[in-house]
Every structure is written in structure tokens, then in C-alpha cells.
């Protein structure tokens, strides 16, 4: 027996709703200002240099892009793996995927040396470049997930939504593989060069995307004053735990394989022991905040049932994810290129010797935060316009296998 689910838009007239828009809108404006400032002056106003060429904007952008494909998970589970309990959340999941990707891409584009030449990026393609593939993957993602959303929301097309869901699922896997490969295929730098980067990014995307989705879902229902069943929350938080553990597994394998190869001992010692800020961000940020603490919060019987604890765990996963991106992207560049094995560089005018330093400026941080805010502000706006969410997410409404608790 199948229950019919009624979808609704949000009213969006409360003071809280407008306050949310004002706060996020202010952050978006600050980000836009930062982008203009960087574009007008040139990149000398950032902490990025010819030594650390990708910095804070890329940390945020890559995180959001990876999280975007992860946010689509809930929809994929419903359409690809036919779990009906996830189906009511599928439209919100697809919406979040689109908004996060858009936020990430805006950051990436505005950090270019020539954002004015976006048209060049769209018309000149070098098909050997993973970046160029990604441009196709990103644009394709918007189209495919957009069509998927349309099929889900339009009753006359509902029969096709399963196929669109399949397409979106494969596309998002390719997209994250492509994003991971941006780094994985850089053979020149010891910190990146690893084929495991791509699958690692895929699993990390599951965790980051689901963490953001859980927060958005819980906030939406709590602020609407509508019911969100414990069954749904429990299911999602358990899934989040599995994804965090999966991501941790890949991090361990990544470093173990590097430790096995003698030529990578230098960069491993850097990340794990001697890297200063990067080592601290790795152990305290990526591992402790992004992995161990959320796992404890999600699985301890006391905290595992508390929505506050689950929200907190989700926030920790996001912070840990940003730390992971910082360690991977900036740390990978801070470690000096190994050009002359067996020799040390004792003099160079171009900072060839030693670890490179990077101090992000306010402008580039604001650009990153502004992009994040832009991804988020699209959610309350879209929810007010179209019917993305079920009126009620009470367990009895959405779960065919639901039984009253004993």
C-alpha cells in the first residue's frame, strides 16, 4: 500500500525567514564585493602567490562542488536503490545539489585571473584537460539534475523520474571522480599524485553532502513547525556515520599507500608530523573534528537520539571537510617540489627551498564564505516558490514499513 504524499511550498512570511535572507544576503554581498575588489586590483590583494597558486577560494569551491554531488545521494537512494522512505526528500536533495554546485562554481569563476573571459572557457575546449571535462560535467549536472527535478515535481512526467534519477546518479559519480582527478592526476606534486584521490573524493562527497542535507532538512522542518519523524532522522544520521567511516577508511589507505612508497616519505612526514598548521589541521581538523567526534556523537546512545547533537555532528563534518580541503589543496602546494633527488637546494631566488607560506587575506575568505552563503540562500528562496518538500515528514506519513514504537 502506498500513501500519497502532499508537497508544499513554505509560507516564508515570518520574521525568522526574512532574518535568514538578510543574513545570507549580506554574506553574498560581502562576497561579491570581495570578488570585485580582487578583480579590480589583481591577485596581489590575496595571499595567493606564484608559490601557493590555489588558496582559500579553491578550498571553499572544491568543498561545495564535492558536497553538491553528495547532496544528491538522498534522491539517488530513492530512485536508483528504490528505497521509498527516501523518496519524499528527493526533490529537496536535488535542489540542494544544484544550489551547492552553483555556489562552488561562482567562487571558482570569480577567482579566475580573467573572470571576464568565461565565454572563452565555454568556447575553447582542450579535451585532454580534466578541467575542461569538468566544465562539461558541471554544466551537464545542472541539466540532468534539473530535468530530474522537473520529472519529480511534474506529476505527468513522474513515471520517467526513475530514469532521470539513474542518469543523475551516474553523472554525479563521474563528476566527483573528475573533481578528485583534478588533484589525483597532478604527477608533479608529491602531495597529490595518487589515483586513490578520485574514489576518496567520491566517498567524502557522500559525507559532506549528507551533512549539509541533514542540517537543511532539520532546519526547514523545525522552523516550519512541521513534523520530521525520528525514523527519518535516525536513518539519515546512521547513513552519515557510515559515510564518515568510509571517508576515514580512504584517508587511512591514502596515507598508508604513500607510507609504503619510500619516495613519498617526505610528504607524509610533512602532513602527519612536521607540517605545522597543515599537520594540526589534519589531525585536529580532518581526523578529530571531521571524523572521530561526529562518529561518537552519532553513535553514542545518549547523543545519537538528540537532534542537537546530530546537528552539531553535521556541522563538525562540514568543518572537518573544509580542513581536509585545506590540507589537501594548500598543504599539497606548501610542500616543496622534489626536483633534485639526493640534493638540497641551498639558494634560489624563487623560493624553491623549504615549505611555502600562505596567509589568506580577508578578501579571499569572504569570497569563499559568500559563495557558501549564495548556495544556501537559494534554498529558502526556492522552497517558497515551488513545492519541494512534503507537508509532513512524520514517520507514519512517509514510511511504508513504519510501525508504532512499542
Amino acid at each position: 500500500m502506498k500513501k500519497k504524499i502532499t508537497y508544499t511550498e513554505i509560507e516564508g512570511r515570518s520574521l525568522g525567514y526574512y532574518a535568514l535572507l538578510v543574513v545570507l544576503g549580506a554574506l553574498v554581498l560581502l562576497g561579491a564585493g570581495a570578488a570585485l575588489y580582487m578583480e579590480h586590483n589583481g591577485h596581489y590583494v590575496t595571499g595567493m602567490s606564484n608559490q601557493i597558486v590555489w588558496g582559500m577560494p579553491h578550498v571553499f569551491a572544491v568543498f561545495l562542488i564535492v558536497a553538491a554531488s553528495g547532496a544528491l545521494n538522498v534522491a539517488s537512494i530513492s530512485s536508483v536503490f528504490a528505497k521509498t522512505a527516501y523518496k519524499p526528500m528527493a526533490p529537496l536533495s536535488a535542489l540542494l545539489a544544484i544550489s551547492l554546485l552553483l555556489g562552488g562554481l561562482v567562487i571558482l569563476v570569480l577567482d579566475l585571473g580573467h573572470p571576464d573571459r568565461l565565454i572563452v572557457a565555454m568556447t575553447f575546449y582542450n579535451f585532454k584537460s580534466i578541467f575542461a571535462w569538468n566544465m562539461i560535467l558541471y554544466n551537464g549536472f545542472f541539466v540532468i539534475v534539473g530535468v530530474y527535478l522537473w520529472f519529480m515535481l511534474d506529476r505527468t512526467m513522474a513515471n520517467y523520474s526513475k530514469y532521470a534519477g539513474f542518469a543523475a546518479f551516474f553523472w554525479r559519480l563521474t563528476l566527483t571522480t573528475g573533481t578528485g582527478s583534478i588533484f589525483g592526476f597532478i604527477v608533479a606534486r608529491q602531495g597529490f599524485d595518487s589515483a586513490i584521490m578520485a574514489p576518496m573524493f567520491v566517498v567524502m562527497s557522500f559525507a559532506y553532502g549528507l551533512a549539509i542535507f541533514l542540517l537543511v532538512l532539520m532546519a526547514t522542518y523545525s522552523w516550519r513547525g512541521a513534523e520530521l519523524g525520528d525514523g527519518t532522522v535516525r536513518r539519515l544520521k546512521n547513513l552519515l556515520g557510515v559515510f564518515i567511516a568510509g571517508a576515514m577508511y580512504f584517508v587511512v589507505v591514502f596515507h598508508l599507500t604513500n607510507l609504503y612508497m619510500t619516495k613519498h616519505h617526505g610528504v607524509e612526514a610533512f602532513t602527519l608530523r612536521d607540517g605545522g598548521i597543515y599537520t594540526q589541521l589534519f589531525w585536529y581538523g580532518e581526523i578529530l573534528v571531521g571524523g572521530v567526534l561526529p562518529l561518537i556523537l552519532l553513535y553514542l546512545p545518549v547523543t545519537g537520539k538528540s537532534r542537537i547533537a546530530i546537528s552539531f555532528a553535521s556541522i563538525l563534518v562540514i568543518l572537518g571537510g573544509l580542513a581536509q580541503m585545506y590540507v589537501t589543496i594548500v598543504g599539497g602546494q606548501a610542500y616543496p617540489l622534489e626536483m633534485f633527488p639526493g640534493k638540497e637546494i641551498i639558494a634560489s631566488s624563487f623560493f624553491d627551498a623549504g615549505v611555502k607560506s600562505y596567509t589568506p587575506t580577508l578578501a579571499e575568505a569572504l569570497l569563499g564564505i559568500g559563495g557558501f552563503a549564495m548556495a544556501l540562500i537559494m534554498i529558502p528562496l526556492a522552497l517558497r516558490i515551488l513545492r519541494f518538500i512534503p507537508v509532513s515528514m512524520a514517520d507514519a506519513e512517509i514510511d511504508p514499513h513504519y510501525r508504532e514504537a512499542k
Binding site: 589583481g42 602567490s49 597558486v53 578541467f131 640534493k343
Partner: protein
């Protein structure tokens, strides 16, 4: 306005004359066999331009090659037009690096610049095709379609590329460079196209070190090929299999 002579027969005749060696100053002979290419003829893959550095004769305190490149191409130096950028942000097309062997303490110095790979990672990764390799093996950035993403800088194993972090003025007509684009050693392509030799190589010879050689790697009779055949030459990061156009002796 002067027009270049385009009569091929005349050019060929002159090319042979040039092959006898360029006398640039009394006592300094350029070891470069030039093949004159008419101005309207495209660069050909029959030629592969390359450089050879002899680290044994490269002098530690000398940076004549760097200075010559700065003057020729209008970057860095005392009169740098990058006034707002930090030293880490300023461009460097070529730099001198001093090395010490960790085991025996042997010290040597060498110039490091774009290695003009046969299979350049920067060209592979560039999304728009701005990072490109000419038929004659010179790796360049087409700044007209460079969007400033810096992926090539991430991919280069030699950190040979720089990004321009601010608005520039007073560029050299032969070496356009500007804000928001990536740049690197062009092997003085504007000189090479006119049978010339890169500024660094000329300066090194002028300074009397004779540590840098320029020529056609495809031509077995060129001085650079003969020298490579006799003494060999290493690539930096040969493990990557990039078949660099710049080779080093004594490394």
C-alpha cells in the same frame, strides 16, 4: 615601416650565411646553426629547439642569464613593473638555483626555467588550450585565451610558470604580459623566429661562461646535438618521462 624580405631564395642564401656563425662581439662566437625561416612560413616540426646547460661551467655567483631575460622580456629586476606584488607573487621566468649533494657536499649552480617538454603537463591540463606547444617544440601561453585558472602552474613539475598579480605598464613589444594571465620562458621565441638565440644563452656566452647552448635537437649536425651526443645530458625529473627540451650536463 620596414618590410621583411619575403623572397625565399634570398632568405635561403642568407640562412647559409648565418650558418657560418653570428659574430656578436669581438671574440664571441655563437654556436648556433641558424636556419632562416621566412616570416610567412609556419614553424615546422622538423625542428625542435632546445637548450643545454653545462652545470660544470655555470658560475655560482653569476646571474647574467637572469638579468638578460629580465631586460629582454621586461619582468623583474631593479625596474620591475610589478610594484604591488610581494616577492612570492612577482614573476620569474628564469632563476638561478644552487644545489648541494646531500651525501658528498658537492655544490653546483644552474639556471632553471620552462623545460619545454615534448609532452608538457601544462598543455595537458589547460582547459582552453591557451597553454600550447608550437610545432618546433617551444611551449607558450596564448594569453588571449588564458582565463587565469593557474591549473598549469599546479601541474608544472618545475614551478616554471608565474601568474601576473597586478596591472602592468610598459611591457616590451616583443613580450606581451599582463594581469590575470600566466606566463613563462618563451625561449625568446621572437628572436628564434628571426634566427636569433635566446637572450640568456647569448648573455652567458658574452659573460664568458659558455655554459648555455641553444639549437635544433632534431638536427644531428647542430652544435647542441653534437655536444649532447658526445657528453650526454640529463633531464630534471626524468622519471616523469616528459622528454624535456632543456638538458643539463653534470647534474
Amino acid at each position: 615601416m620596414k618590410q621583411l624580405p619575403t623572397d625565399p631564395s634570398r632568405r635561403n642564401f642568407l640562412g647559409k650565411t648565418a650558418a657560418a656563425g653570428l659574430l656578436i662581439a669581438p671574440g664571441v662566437l655563437l654556436h648556433q646553426v641558424a636556419q632562416a625561416r621566412p616570416a610567412d612560413e609556419a614553424a615546422s616540426s622538423k625542428v625542435r629547439w632546445g637548450m643545454l646547460v653545462d652545470t660544470n661551467t655555470c658560475s655560482k655567483g653569476c646571474d647574467a642569464c637572469v638579468t638578460a631575460c629580465q631586460t629582454e622580456n621586461g619582468w623583474g629586476g631593479e625596474h620591475s613593473n610589478e610594484v604591488k606584488s610581494s616577492p612570492e607573487q612577482q614573476s620569474q621566468w628564469i632563476r638561478k638555483v644552487t644545489l648541494r649533494d646531500k651525501q658528498n657536499g658537492h655544490e653546483q649552480s644552474l639556471p632553471l626555467m620552462c623545460q619545454h617538454c615534448e609532452t608538457p603537463p601544462c598543455v595537458d591540463v589547460c582547459p582552453t588550450g591557451a597553454s600550447m606547444k608550437r610545432a618546433d617544440g617551444i611551449v607558450l601561453v596564448d594569453k588571449h585565451i588564458c582565463i587565469g585558472c593557474r591549473y598549469c602552474m599546479m601541474a608544472c613539475p618545475y614551478k616554471a610558470r608565474s601568474f601576473v598579480h597586478e596591472e602592468l605598464h610598459d611591457q616590451k613589444p616583443y613580450a606581451p604580459r599582463g594581469k590575470g594571465t600566466v606566463e613563462s620562458c618563451t625561449m625568446c621565441v621572437h628572436r628564434v623566429d628571426k634566427d636569433g638565440t635566446p637572450a640568456c644563452v647569448e648573455a652567458c656566452n658574452k659573460a664568458g661562461h659558455q655554459a648555455m647552448w641553444f639549437g635544433d635537437l632534431n638536427n644531428p649536425n647542430s652544435d647542441i646535438s653534437k655536444r649532447l651526443k658526445e657528453y650526454g645530458g640529463n633531464q630534471i625529473r626524468a622519471d616523469l618521462g616528459l622528454n624535456t627540451g632543456v638538458r643539463y650536463q653534470g647534474l
